[in-house]
Symmetry: C2
Subunit: 151 residues, 2 copies
């Protein structure tokens, strides 16, 4: 008999996607993130660069700050970040300092993502991608098509 | 007759050094930053990662947010960031998104700075270093020597 783990990557990425959808509703580039420790969500956030007029207000940056507040310490050891789109070099740079254990992203960002930009992750960090990639990139595509039609 | 410009790089870097000294007094890694537009200082900040328990609280990150708040827009066109130590990949990544016109740093960070880490700056951004480099690196060295002696 096989036991299904309800707390798999898809379970948590769905929560990050809900955050991305909340960003979409606000007219923000729809990217969402959550941070999890021992199957518990300790931070949830979405991109707010337009609302806050602040290029640093990416979903991941807010999630890192919120998770550190929750934990009462600045290192995110044993934590996993779920983010709908591959982090940029700013966010990957912040994740480097946080020493986070795991990063799981949805879709690649071929142009501005940390992989293409060669941003260095912390040696203790394991990153993997492709979880709900289609949903994440579809939402982003819809956003930009809609934005183009409005202008 | 030559006219001396009182608002040169050293003038502004001295203000950034004052911020670094404020960080030192708080037991923070002593790095300070200011952002200037048309010879006017619109943001001043220093590293607060220990005080805020937050790896994202580098001097530059706070300065970017403060300057954008002041300007009422997220792009730092025509602005110059003065920072006592070369920015890391997180801060350089944030500066990329801000499209800031100029970055002037004091001392190099050979190990974790954006030059060694190959972080990409915005094509519109010009970066130069070496302004009050000795003062900036001396303050940093003093901090780490003192910290080592206390432990």
């Amino acid at each position: 008999m096989s036991v299904i783990d309800p707390f798999d990557d898809t379970y948590f990425m769905k929560r990050a996607m809900q955050e991305a959808e909340a960003a979409y509703e606000k007219g923000e580039i729809p990217i969402g993130a959550i941070i999890v420790i021992k199957n518990q969500i300790i931070a949830r956030s979405h991109n707010l660069t337009e609302t806050l007029n602040d290029v640093t207000a990416h979903a991941e940056m807010q999630a890192i700050t919120a998770a550190a507040n929750y934990l009462g310490g600045k290192y995110l050891i044993d934590c996993t970040l779920y983010v709908t789109i591959e982090p940029c070099q700013m966010c990957a740079g912040a994740l480097f300092w946080s020493q986070i254990s795991n990063i799981v992203y949805g879709a690649r960002d071929e142009q501005r993502g940390c992989i293409s930009m060669n941003t260095q992750l912390h040696p203790k960090t394991i990153m993997k991608g492709g979880v709900m990639a289609d949903e994440a990139s579809q939402l982003l595509k819809h956003f930009f098509i809609e934005k183009r039609n409005l202008n």
